[in-house]
Assembly symmetry: D4
Homo-oligomer: 168 residues x 8
């Protein structure tokens, strides 16, 4: 059953949003991904955000860049957690996206992750669901173990070959 909605305002955001989807697939969490612009199609957007709860969704992951209103507007309508991903921007490096997403007024939080932090948004959604899903929690722990082993493998390689060889 789909529990996570992934939404972006522009298909230029898709490479970042795809990382959220990749993680959710890896962790066995069903999601639905779409493109909706709060600015260019406000009616459709409202419909989308209002119907999310009745579709059984528990989390929305919204990514946007520049004057990034999509995550905040989702949070104004959807009553459960909204995760915001600020997109990197050429001129301001993503500070514009970050401030537009994280600096929400009292009453309407957006759970903000790092600039271009698609994978972490997917992980955070899974962690939220894992608060009531012990099996998912176990899969998250397994994933953390994988990450740990990747670092250990690199440390071993470095110990073995030395940094001059490693950086070649």
């Amino acid at each position: 059953m789909t529990k996570v909605g992934i939404v972006m305002g522009s298909d230029s955001d898709m490479p970042v949003m795809a990382k959220a989807a990749d993680i959710l697939e890896k962790l066995g969490v069903e999601y639905e991904m779409t493109i909706i612009s709060a600015h260019r199609e406000p009616d459709l957007f409202f419909e989308y955000a209002k119907s999310a709860e009745s579709k059984g969704w528990k989390v929305i992951i919204a990514g946007a860049g520049m004057a990034a209103h999509l995550p905040g507007m989702c949070a104004a309508i959807f009553p459960m957690p909204v995760i915001g991903i600020p997109m990197h921007t050429t001129s301001l490096g993503g500070r514009d996206s970050l401030y537009s997403i994280v600096q929400m007024p009292t009453g309407i939080p957006v759970a903000t992750v790092a600039i271009n932090g698609g994978a972490n948004a997917g992980l955070l959604a899974a962690k939220i669901l894992a608060t009531s899903d012990p099996e998912l929690l176990q899969r998250l722990k397994d994933y953390s173990q994988e990450l740990k082993e990747q670092v250990e493998a690199k440390a071993e390689k470095l110990a073995k070959v030395g940094y001059k060889e490693y950086t070649k």
Copy 2:
């Protein structure tokens, strides 16, 4: 006939928004001022923005702080000019408000003025209306003349008393 809507998301913005109203009153432009939060009452906000054109409004002045979505969401719905006023904020000095308002994506411009620039928002609204109202244009020119005379008076005072006396 009311041609300008003034809207803010929080009554803490009112001292700045009042300056817009003061200028419009001085220039004889009718306006309607209200408080609507796009975040806390999205339904009311949509209704407000959608009905603005049928009420005969030609310009909306929207002020907001932090992750300031109100001006951009007005611009997503209202088809004529929306003027955005970024509010000063304690932590980021209003950069958050400024970026959230000015960095709009293609298709949805917001005419942004300076941080806390309430008076200039009112003036810009009047200038927009003056493109088809020669009498208002004349009043705007008279107002510019006033500003000029104020500076001249200060320059004369300085010439007369000297800077040491002036700054006492």
Copy 3:
């Protein structure tokens, strides 16, 4: 049953953290609040973060300022959601805290709220728990309705008394 841990690195952060506790109390969510410094007492901190899951906690809210490591280190150890509150700072306005909390590397998300966003951190924790608690979800909706009514009351007052009277 306690489901939320609230932790800060310094008691100077308490006025902000108190807002998270206030919201949780209002929404009927049990929490435990303490002061632990990841920098000054790393052993105690590790113990704290490691035992959180076995105590039945589902969410940790961590606030910190400057080089704010507490939220990220909690997220390195606790497998469920960690919410980070960046504290305002005199010199950098809280940008240091914000960047130190939100810019987490892949694998270790921190759900970041606004600078000094204590109340929103509490709300976000409640929203996370509400993904599996329909009664809490209803209380969150009631709270949103309250916020909406507060804005409506202000709009009515403005319509009645006018902005000059309102700002007196």
Copy 4:
């Protein structure tokens, strides 16, 4: 009849300014585009700005980078709306241009759009003219509809092919 002047201080700004012209052409708004430097040819600039009203212009779109004085100096002379486009800059990303254009003192507003926001400047000029031109307003609404349909088409494509295929 020409109603919009487009002016830039340097021909390096032309790719951005061209987007304003493109939109105006699409919307059937006549404009005149030129290059004038307020810094390198102040006399010509003054002449240009002073004669704009008598030529029947209603809006000036001015683009400039770095210490961007052209929009503000236009606004000091031309009594109707001036739209400012801050150019992206290598060292400061366009913050220098943005601050030099948006932070105007009381009395002299510049309607500022996003960094490199050429298309939005053209749209804003059209919206200003549309306050007294119902046919132009209709063309603006048609344009908004086009933008909406473009997003819908992308959403449909994503629904059909999936994100892995989409991002290939």
Copy 5:
């Protein structure tokens, strides 16, 4: 004979500009100080900047805040050195003034000093004149000696009383 013009756009800048005048008086350099707004009275400003050379001026010191155009526009017209003083601003701390003054395009330099650096602007003007005035150069050296002696006196006091007494 007056060789330095001191100009500001607003009398709110006078406390900073006064420091430039104080230094010039101390060094025996004649100056003329006035208030002229390039934005509010562009005609007067042009007249002012154009007549400066014929009055025998060698340097103009111009101070301005926010979108600070005055120094750059002086430099566009006056062929000898223009010194710019960026004013501190509440929201952006003077970054807006600094960028608007220092980031001038090729061909039109403004010799920029620190934010609120009134005294240094006066000193720089004197140093420029001292390139052809050996007596003024000597007075500048005497002034530097004074500054040095002030620091030495403080160091002696510290050595004598200790820092605990010093900071009481």
Copy 6:
């Protein structure tokens, strides 16, 4: 025997520098504190920096604000560690001081601490000396223990009185 020099460019920096001295006194490390301006008395400064090694000093702590050259110039002359303290500044919050101190070119490191980080500069100096002084190292560990106990006492107080009482 004096092993640490503490130097500042202006006596306005003394409240911050005093914290470095306080820590060194507490840890039993002898130091010499003085005021020398690299800008106003370059000859004295050179003499100071050159003679430091022959006086037996092992570390210099240098504090400065704005275009803070003192720490870097010390590091250009003194061959052992120089610790730099960036002073908070009104306009730029200390970013100017921080960048002027930390961004040193290859070959001339300055060990930079936080803005206004006087106490940490003293601690860092002690830690450097402790690399060859086991007794000092023990005193540093005792000091860390003290800090830890202070936090524990606060946590106990909070557990006892609750946050509402605590923040009264």
Copy 7:
């Protein structure tokens, strides 16, 4: 006779410093260019700065990047104008260089130009010398005329070919 010294701390700054030299050559001003690091060879640097006056120099142009101390240290020793050029930097875009050069304390001004503003530094040096050299002043006016004609030629080309052809 050489009147201008051009100095940089690293030969990586030479492309920017070369623009200053190019302008001075064009304007017939003799200069001497060298590389001296205040950080890596403080003794040589002191010698250089101290001997500048006796060599008959009237202006020093100093360029530096990151924690850019060279211009400020020149100004601490040389009694006539020092012009500072902040170099662009990869990480901070030149803000570090700019702040390290422009934010000088009272008593030691550096005439700062734009980031990478080599040509303007050369022009500013010439303008300083032109305060006592009418022939150089005339050459500066001729140069300004050239710049103006370049812009006029571009405006004519645009008027003739249109922007679509121009930007091809």
Copy 8:
């Protein structure tokens, strides 16, 4: 005997960390380099930091990017100096890393060097050890002499070939 630990959180940091190792090798200082993530393997990290003193290490050099916790967490556990290297980041240029490392709270200093300042971190470690190792101090002086001679050689080349040839 190994006296310096070099640690990074990710092998993407290795090109910068390698510069620290290169300098230490050149100066004859033994070190041990590894990869340990405080976020992905907190247990291993704790073990690493706790055992450092007993292995005889006197200094740890830690590099990290974004929300860079590794240096600060080392400093929370290891009682002698920790040197932090902030990594350059795409979106924020390394400001996030810099603030996360340098803005440490009282009691836990990190000796911070420039963004990507690997070589300076190695030099600073050597300078710290040189406070009790006269031979190492001499090697550091020899290295400084080398740097000086490199600059002198460049100055000679410039004097000989001229800047036009030099920059070809």
